[in-house]
């Protein structure tokens, strides 16, 4: 067998350089990606602060009760009794309206916030100088269907407000300081970005698990993730929501009250005309007042007591001397 050609120096150096580079690359890549601990299983808890406080100190403890069948009228009456929309929304404010759009159900069934209220509230905000009004909720049924069928979407757009449908990217984990349930939990925070005023608008509804669904229960709709688990401790959860979310104003619509079969309803026979609209800055007091429309006392609803005890407001709404007005 003839001897192979001897390796030239140049060829040797070239090969050695290539081989060295290969070894260095393999070694470098291994060093960079070396992981001695292995996977953690679950990501570490990302502790995030709660939500901004949207309440206004100068309007604390105000509550008004307006009687009448026409929502747009009772809303303006109630707001006037509270000092006018101008006390809550000023020039340049960016307003978020949190509605209850939980179900793909028509307005006549009162399972969702009435579109008239959404329209009128958005209109009043703009009239008071708001720079933008956004309407949002994370419904239970298909979001697009909910906003369309409930009439909330069209009403909001008619008033010039924009509607934000939930998507996974709009949630971020939030923890309530001192909370036991709302820990590292996904909350619909993206629509709150840049917002200066938060208004909650909810109907009065029967709710078999919590006893009632009103303005406090309405904040449930800001939660994402596996929020159904919270039904196992629903009263404490609502009390924590009352601490987490401090709105500028809440509006509780008891023009029609869903007395039975809540919170979905589904039939006109579940409803009763109660011709009452309650607005205020203390959601605990507003809900305590609204409980009467369902024929309940505040002590029948443990979440109210828990919220009061946690310092979110008072269940003794009469102490706030509510202004009563009639259409």
């Amino acid at each position: 067998m003839p001897p192979a050609d001897p390796l030239s120096r140049r060829e040797f150096l070239r090969r050695a350089a290539r081989a060295g580079l290969g070894v260095a690359l393999a070694g470098g890549l291994s060093a960079i990606s070396f992981d001695a601990a292995g996977p953690l299983g679950l990501p570490p808890e990302q502790a995030k602060a709660g939500l901004p406080d949207f309440s206004l100190p100068q309007t604390a403890g105000r509550i008004a009760i307006a009687r009448g069948a026409e929502r747009r009228e009772t809303l303006s009456l109630a707001l006037r009794a509270l000092g006018g929309i101008e006390s809550f929304v000023g020039r340049g404010d960016r307003v978020l309206i949190k509605v209850n759009a939980a179900f793909a159900s028509p307005p006549i069934l009162s399972a969702t916030t009435h579109p008239d209220l959404v329209y009128e509230l958005a209109r009043l905000c703009f009239a008071a100088g708001a720079a933008s009004v956004v309407v949002t909720d994370n419904p239970i049924n298909d979001p697009a269907s909910c906003f369309a069928l409930s009439g909330i979407g069209p009403a909001a757009r008619r008033a010039g407000a924009s509607v934000v449908l939930p998507a996974e990217s709009l949630f971020r984990p939030v923890s309530l300081e001192g909370g036991t349930l709302i820990r590292n939990w996904p909350v619909l925070t993206a629509p709150l970005t840049g917002v200066t005023r938060l208004i909650g608008v909810a109907p009065v509804k029967d709710h078999h698990r919590s006893g009632a669904s009103m303005t406090l229960k309405n904040w449930y709709g800001l939660l994402g993730g596996r929020r159904n688990l919270f039904h196992q401790d629903v009263h404490r959860l609502i009390a924590e929501l009352a601490l987490l979310v401090r709105p500028t104003l809440v509006v509780l619509d008891g023009t029609t009250t869903m007395m039975t079969n809540g919170p979905t309803g589904g039939s006109l026979s579940d409803l009763r005309e109660t011709r009452t609209l309650i607005a205020g800055t203390d959601p605990v007091a507003v809900d305590a007042c609204g409980a009467e429309l369902l024929g309940k006392r505040p002590e029948d609803l443990p979440f109210l007591g828990a919220a009061e005890k946690a310092g979110a407001g008072t269940t003794d709404f009469r102490r706030l001397s509510p202004r009563e007005v009639s259409a």
């Binding site: 298909d142 697009a144 996974e168 698990r209 039904h231 039975t260 919170p263 589904g266 002590e299």
Partner: protein, 581 residues
């Protein structure tokens, strides 16, 4: 513009139109949504779907009449649908062109030679038509939808391509949609597309049952491609890009010709012409798949459906997990109409309709099935979109009143697609002493089909509790400790010896504050034992009210195998599946 350019323009136009119709098949009034677009157009122009449902049901439903247009055009002009309209054919042709364009002419000529295996599509056609026509009870099964090019393309684009684009962030409406079986459906689609790299228009030449049907229909076409031997120099360039492998160099096989018109454009000697006369060089007007093969296919088609029925899937061993969309016909009739096009799945606003996998049997492969875990919120009981869109009325178009059981349908009650069952071994209030009733909350009918009964279950404690001081709303413990706050959720009660239960409002380790005062005569004496109970509302289903919408199953917090599940029991479409009196 040459005829070839016209053909190309037509293919681009119809392919884009097809993709557009797929994309806009979502509920809504905007022009990028359903809003009146004729999104079923291609399925309705498809004579195979029309002929097969005609054979199976002896009727031609609504828009399927449009297939008459294709049939007439084919009788007069040959396979003009394949060459000019079919979007799946256009995709094949494009990919085939990509794969072949750099190959030498000799290789391309070899690839475009006729192969006897092209007769396979006629055999498949015989199989599918027999399966449709020769069912055990008159109507057969629309298995044709599995290979029908329009159904295949519509299903693949609807259920795999569009969701894939959604994942990439294109045209997202809310959360990206899920499709069970997406990988399997996409694999068939991709295989059909990639086979074009082996031979151009592989699917059209060897497999397409619609192409076979159109080839037979074009037997007496008035205009056809023909060759004049006197002018021909035998250069064979006409076969270089022949899409149908119909051999224009010899006796042209007219049934194979897809009217791509490449031969016409490529011939430099004027020997090829589109003419009303028969080809001077001779024609082979009909394919010859072989009598035995066709008979075998017919027998196999009939036997397949019969064997499926012997399996019992439409009879005694019907699948309770196969919950069909609202308005779906009884199973045999359903199978004699469903072409598996995926339109119902695409339009469903809650993404609850999915293609069934093999778990429901071969005959039901990729037919619609409700998957309550996958959808966004069960089957919305005020929605009738799927039946409005279904091109063959396998899901019959309902009026909302009929679904809800109102107006003239009041006596019949609401339409039921199944019934919910509580799995008491998995349900939190039933098995785990935890409050929940998310299912009850979400039940959309009034009165609710899910109702609850309260029970008070004694809580397990590490040590027994002994009453110390008790007065008014307060109870002090002489022995035993409570974990502070644990029982202050509003769901816990103390049990008095008298049997009275009082709600715990707050408590420390050894002091309990009650929501109401203990009546004087019932004050427990010091030293008496005391128990803590949790109040549970346990869900029950009223089968008279339950419509099977599955919102309960979707919302159940037991996320793996749900603690409340809907099966097809009691569904309206099958009196045989009735469960209650």
């Amino acid at each position: 513009m040459s005829l070839r350019s016209a053909r190309r323009a037509s293919q681009v136009f119809f392919t884009l139109l097809f993709l557009w119709f797929c994309a806009v098949s979502t509920l809504g009034g905007r022009f990028t949504e359903l809003s009146g677009w004729p999104v079923n157009l291609f399925l309705e122009l498809d004579p195979l779907a029309a002929v097969a449902t005609l054979l199976a049901t002896h009727t031609l439903y609504r828009g399927l009449l449009w297939a008459l247009l294709t049939v007439c055009a084919t009788i007069l002009l040959g396979r003009v649908f394949c060459g000019f309209v079919c979007p799946f054919g256009a995709m094949h042709q494009f990919v085939g062109w990509l794969g072949m364009r750099t190959r030498p002419t000799a290789a391309r000529l070899a690839q475009n030679r006729f192969l006897p295996a092209q007769n396979l599509k006629y055999v498949l056609l015989a199989f599918f038509l027999a399966a449709a026509a020769l069912g055990p009870a008159g109507g057969g099964s629309l298995l044709a939808g599995l290979l029908d090019p329009i159904c295949l393309a519509q299903r693949s684009v609807n259920l795999t391509l569009l969701p894939l684009f959604e994942r990439l962030g294109v045209a997202v409406r809310g959360e990206p949609r899920l499709t069970r079986e997406a990988l399997a459906i996409a694999s068939v689609f991709l295989a059909a597309i990639l086979l074009n790299l082996h031979r151009p228009r592989f699917f059209c030449r060897f497999l397409c049952p619609l192409g076979a049907l159109l080839g037979l229909l074009g037997r007496f076409a008035l205009v056809r491609i023909g060759r004049t031997p006197e002018a021909c120099t035998g250069c064979t360039l006409c076969e270089r890009a022949c899409e149908g492998a119909c051999e224009p160099t010899g006796r042209i096989r007219t049934a194979e010709c897809v009217l791509c018109l490449n031969c016409l454009a490529d011939c430099r000697h004027g020997a090829i012409a589109l003419s009303t006369r028969a080809s001077a060089a001779g024609e082979i007007p009909l394919p010859d798949p072989g009598r035995r093969a066709v008979i075998a296919a017919v027998v196999a088609g009939a036997a397949t459906v019969s064997l499926g029925r012997i399996g019992g899937a439409t009879g005694a061993t019907w699948s309770p997990s196969l919950v069909r969309p609202p308005g779906a016909l009884a199973e045999e009739e359903f199978l004699s109409r469903c072409i598996r096009c995926g339109q119902c799945m695409r339009v469903c606003p809650t993404n609850v309709i999915h293609p069934a996998g093999l778990e429901e049997g071969l005959e039901a492969l990729w037919t619609p099935k409700l998957d309550f875990r996958a959808g966004t919120s069960g089957c919305q009981h005020t929605c009738i979109a799927c039946g409005q869109l279904c091109p063959t009325a396998a899901i019959r178009p309902l009026r909302l009143e009929e679904r809800l059981g109102t107006a003239e349908f009041a006596s019949r009650g609401p339409l039921r697609i199944g019934c919910a069952f509580v799995d008491r071994g998995r349900c939190l209030p039933w098995a785990m002493d935890r409050p929940c009733i998310v299912c009850q909350e979400n039940c959309p009918v009034s009165p609710k089909a899910i109702f609850t009964r309260p029970v008070y279950n004694e809580v397990r404690l590490p040590e027994p509790l002994v009453v110390g001081e008790a007065s008014g709303q307060r109870v002090g413990l002489a022995a035993g400790r409570l974990e502070p706050g644990r029982f202050a959720t509003g769901d816990y009660f103390i049990l008095l010896p008298s049997g009275r239960r009082l709600r715990i409002r707050a408590h420390g380790e050894q002091a309990i504050e009650l929501a109401a005062a203990i009546p004087e005569p019932e004050l427990p004496p010091r030293g008496s034992p005391m128990a803590v109970a949790i109040r549970l509302q346990q869900p029950h289903v009223d089968p008279e009210r339950c419509i099977g919408c599955g919102v309960c199953e979707h919302e159940c917090p037991v996320q793996g195998k749900r603690a409340i599940r809907v099966t097809a029991e009691n569904e309206s479409r099958h009196p045989r599946h009735r469960m209650t009196l």
